[in-house]
Amino acid sequence: MGKLINNGIRLDGRRVDELRPYKLEVGVLKNADGSAYIELGKNKIIVAVYGPKEVHPKHIALPDRCVIRCRYHMSPFSTDVRKTPAPSRREIEISKVIREALEPTILVEEYPRTAIDIFLEVLQSDGGSRCAGITAAALALADAGISMCDLVVACAAGKVDGTMVLDLSDIEDKEGEADMPVAVMPNLGIITLLQLDGILTHEEFKQGIDLALEGCRRLHEAQRKALMDRYFKTAPNQEVE
């Protein structure tokens, strides 16, 4: 195996603190109540939000808040070898962590006895699809008009060839030493997801968090722009009198 980082330049030509190219779009699906699309590197993920709506089966409804259901799914053509469409152990786990990363931001008490469904469909996969999924899902929730105290944005940091790097690609994730996805509510500064696969020293961990938060800040700018483009494109300027 060759080196993954040469003179501070990674395999795909990025510096260690650089994100992959990204594109965010809101309101891409007409039938869903809210939707968003994200491209991050080779990742292509589409997110649809339905709800709040009546809960079926009725017994899972909660009297004082809404239930949030989340499905992360990789389409059979999203990988280089066909993936069976049945939800794998990994997908079930990621669905759960995404749900838990988004739940703190949704003001669930505003919608008692209802359900909100979030569907994430990975059309093409690369490293860091759960982070890209969370970033897009927050946009789709906002597009659906669900009350939330902040957006959520996620980004991974990790250790590759002994160096801390931002936003790992698929190969860096597999061959590197550590991968740490972080999701954060950018305005309130609350971390809603923190996973770590690998071993980091205290110093590396701190460095990783700082890198990931900086990546999240940049992605949040993109989120904001995507929402503004969708809703206020025809608006003359930001401040209205």
Binding site: T114, A142, M148, C149, D150, L151, L188, Y231, A235
Partner: protein
Amino acid sequence: MPEVKRKYVIPGELITEGNYRIIANVIKRGNKFYSTRIGLAEYGQEGVKVIPLTGPYVPKVDDLVIGKIVDYSAFAWEVDINSCFMAYLPARNVYGKNFTPGQESLVKRFNIGDLIAAVVTAFDRTRDPILSVAGPGLGKISKGEVVKISPTKVPRLIGKKGSMIRTIESGTGCKLMIGQNGIVVLSGKPEGIIKAVKAIRLVEEEAHLADLTQKVQAMLGIKEEGGKEGDG
């Protein structure tokens, strides 16, 4: 005139700092106010609020809604009011207090698939909305064209004191019935309806912009009448 400042916001965006009263769609952290929805934030002496641009219909007591009958039992009809809650129209709200199940057949009044105009008489977090058809203009809707818009844009379609409705009605010769749940029923001549639908779509698209009434007037070819009534 109290000064009101406006700003386009997304969820989590800081609206303002200081001492304000919260009106709607705003959360307070410390002395900072953040938006919870996409929309137009307004803050001034009255307080802070966000007028949302997207979102579901949440029923409110006294709202006029237009709904479709989806089911019925011996006591009540079930009505789809384009919300996350199914509404109930109890038979006693239609036949009166002396209603006894079995004597009347509910289908004779409203059948499945019928469209009705009703008001919400009761709703809170713990119960589903209850409807009533007692009142002028309420009850079964037998003809007309149905248009759905986003429920958050209904206030703009009505306008200040109904100015937008009046503009569209006088410009197209149609009658408009606007449910707070985003369902609009138009009745009139086909040409008028086509024009009115276009006007409604314009309002929906540009709900966040100022001078909408003037724009709709220009589109429908109406000259400004009786001084300026502009609606922000």
